[in-house]
């Protein structure tokens, strides 16, 4: 653990340094323009601190984002429209709905594909093609259509988009997992005259569990992306994606960056939690860590 944190911290340090340089570099022009307008001259020593404290910077400095993030998370009432916790919660709802739906779809399709040759040949190619279709193109339409059928709010359409993105990793992993028992184990089942159902429940399904849990991390990340993508193109007012949109459209870059990092934080927490579930499941099933 120690040996790994050193390099990681070094890389993060380098990225942070590059970020600060970018902030100074990109914001300096505005400072010079301001000075020119006021008819004064500014030196680099004066520009430097000012580039890191602008109200509407082109590239906000890391500490500015950190402050905005802290403010959005802690300084607002949890239910107010300015609280990142509130918006995070909205996005989280859609993420979880999509995640659950994606798992159900992925597992159901995988079982069908493995048990039926017809489904294997007909559905699998289309499942692959489905991921080459940019779901984001369907996002505005799904939102509008669900509104006209009378579905309230954006939870369902965002959930659908999230499910679309998260079902595929689960599908691919489950198919691999259900097919993972080798010929020897399947033959063993045959010597006991096991029925197809018994082979499925007693051999294939347990064998697929490690693969299933491994895919959940990818699935939850994809689901979060789906939820945010669902908020972006349609003028939503709630959710982290909506916050990013509002920040950019109203010329408040700090709000946008804070929302982006809140989304990153949410992604990190979700992946960590799912990773813990995976570790527990593997321990219960006797898979070596």
């Amino acid at each position: 653990m120690m040996a790994r944190s050193g390099p990681v911290l070094a890389v993060l340090g380098i990225l942070l340094a590059v970020w600060y340089l970018a902030a100074v570099g990109m914001n300096a022009q505005w400072e010079r323009d301001q000075a020119a307008r006021a008819g004064t001259k500014v030196t680099w020593a004066e520009i430097l601190p000012q580039t890191m404290a602008q109200a509407r910077p082109v590239v906000p400095a890391p500490h500015q984002v950190a402050v905005a993030l802290w403010d959005g998370l802690t300084a607002q009432a949890v239910t107010s429209k300015r609280s990142l916790v509130y918006h995070g919660y909205i996005t989280l709802q859609a993420t979880l709905v999509g995640f659950a739906l994606g798992i159900v779809m992925g597992v159901a399709l995988a079982v069908g594909i493995v048990q039926s040759r017809a489904m294997d040949l007909s559905v699998m190619p289309w499942a692959i093609i489905s991921q080459t279709i940019p779901i984001v193109a369907l996002a505005p339409m799904i939102v509008v259509v669900s509104g006209s059928i009378g579905i309230e709010g954006r939870l369902i359409p965002k959930g659908v988009i999230s499910a679309y993105l998260s079902f595929f990793p689960v599908l691919v992993s489950m198919v691999k997992g259900l097919r993972s028992p080798d010929a020897m184990q399947v033959d063993q089942m045959a010597t006991w005259s096991a029925s197809a159902a018994q082979v499925f429940w007693k051999l294939r399904l347990p064998a697929s569990m490690p693969y299933f849990f491994a895919s959940l991390k990818v699935a939850i990340a994809a689901s979060l992306v789906g939820a945010i993508v669902g908020e972006l193109p349609t003028g939503a007012v709630e959710g982290l994606g909506a916050r990013m949109l509002i920040g950019s459209q109203f010329g408040q870059p700090l709000i946008m960056w804070a929302a982006l990092f809140a989304a990153a934080l949410l992604a990190g927490v979700l992946i960590l939690l799912v990773g813990q579930v995976e570790r527990l499941a593997r321990a219960r099933m006797g898979v070596p860590a």
């Binding site: 040949l121 080459t132 984001v136 509008v144 059928i149 994606g241 950019s248 982006l260 989304a263 992946i271």
Partner: protein
């Protein structure tokens, strides 16, 4: 009513046909293996058409395939311009720049074991983030035209390809590198003759992921500002005007472009990594 019955009858017949086909010897031929998903796809279209007409679904909710096809054939010039703007100028250029930069960065970092060990966890994390969220920022920086779209694609594609390439460069076994040492090979000779070819399966894994991300990035970026052309632009404006047939037409073009792009990469992968067990087992 008749539409619904016809649609369901077609569905049943196609289902039986597919089951028969799948369990017969026909699947040993290439044609047989293509026929099954093709029948499935056609069935979906037929059922769609039948149910939409039969249930009287309004066109502003879901148009039937025949109407979409009509729209496609009458709007080819517009579709073509949108395709060029979004796919060729936005997605492809971003893909090329992003993947190229990622490969070069991976090779540069490879010289330092320390940096490589630090980069993999960070890169994996960033690759999982909703990078698409920075689209509005990039439109602000790079302007409305295709450059901002390419920039979004670069941002989305860079880390997944980087992580895969770094993993690929680590993939050659210790024994292989020892062998290179016994021949007195230099770092560059080892890189070009051993480690780069060995990294190719990993690189193509990353490229396939990148191809799906590229189109998403370009389209999303257009939602935030675009000259009056491009798939994302067309979709968002047509949705606003409830011209859903045009939206589906654009989606069909996007789907076609995405599939062909992915297919080309898969074909190239087969040619370059012909030696890998996954390409040899059937």
């Amino acid at each position: 009513m008749i539409w619904i019955v016809a649609a369901l009858a077609f569905w049943a017949a196609a289902w039986v046909a597919n089951i028969r086909l799948a369990n017969s010897g026909a699947v040993r031929t290439r044609a047989g293996r293509l026929a099954v998903p093709a029948i499935f796809g056609i069935t979906v279209l037929v059922v769609w058409e039948g149910l939409v007409r039969g249930l009287g679904v309004p066109g502003v909710i879901l148009p039937p395939p025949s109407v979409i096809w009509a729209k496609i054939t009458t709007s080819l010039p517009t579709l073509w311009i949108d395709f060029l703007q979004t796919f060729v100028k936005g997605a492809l250029s971003g893909f090329a720049i992003g993947c190229g930069a990622a490969v070069l960065t991976a090779i540069a970092i490879d010289r330092s074991q320390f940096l490589t060990r630090g980069l993999l966890p960070v890169g994996n994390f960033v690759a999982a983030l909703p990078v698409v969220g920075i689209a509005p920022i990039l439109v602000q920086w790079f302007g409305f035209d295709w450059q901002s779209k390419a920039a979004v694609v670069v941002a989305m594609v860079f880390f997944p390809v980087l992580v895969n390439m770094v993993a690929g460069l680590q993939a050659s076994e210790r024994m292989q590198r020892d062998l290179m040492a016994t021949w007195g090979a230099s770092y560059w000779q080892t890189l070009v003759k051993l480690r780069l070819p060995a990294a190719m399966p990993f690189l193509f894994n990353g490229l396939k992921i990148a191809s799906t991300l590229a189109l998403i990035g370009a389209i999303v970026a257009e939602f935030f500002g675009s000259p009056v052309m491009g798939m994302g632009f067309r979709i968002s404006t047509e949705v606003g005007r409830l011209g859903l047939d045009m939206v589906w037409a654009e989606i069909a073009v996007a789907a076609l472009a995405g599939s062909v792009f992915y297919g080309l990469i898969a074909l190239t992968e087969r040619a370059v990594t012909f030696w890998h067990p996954s390409q040899r087992t059937k």
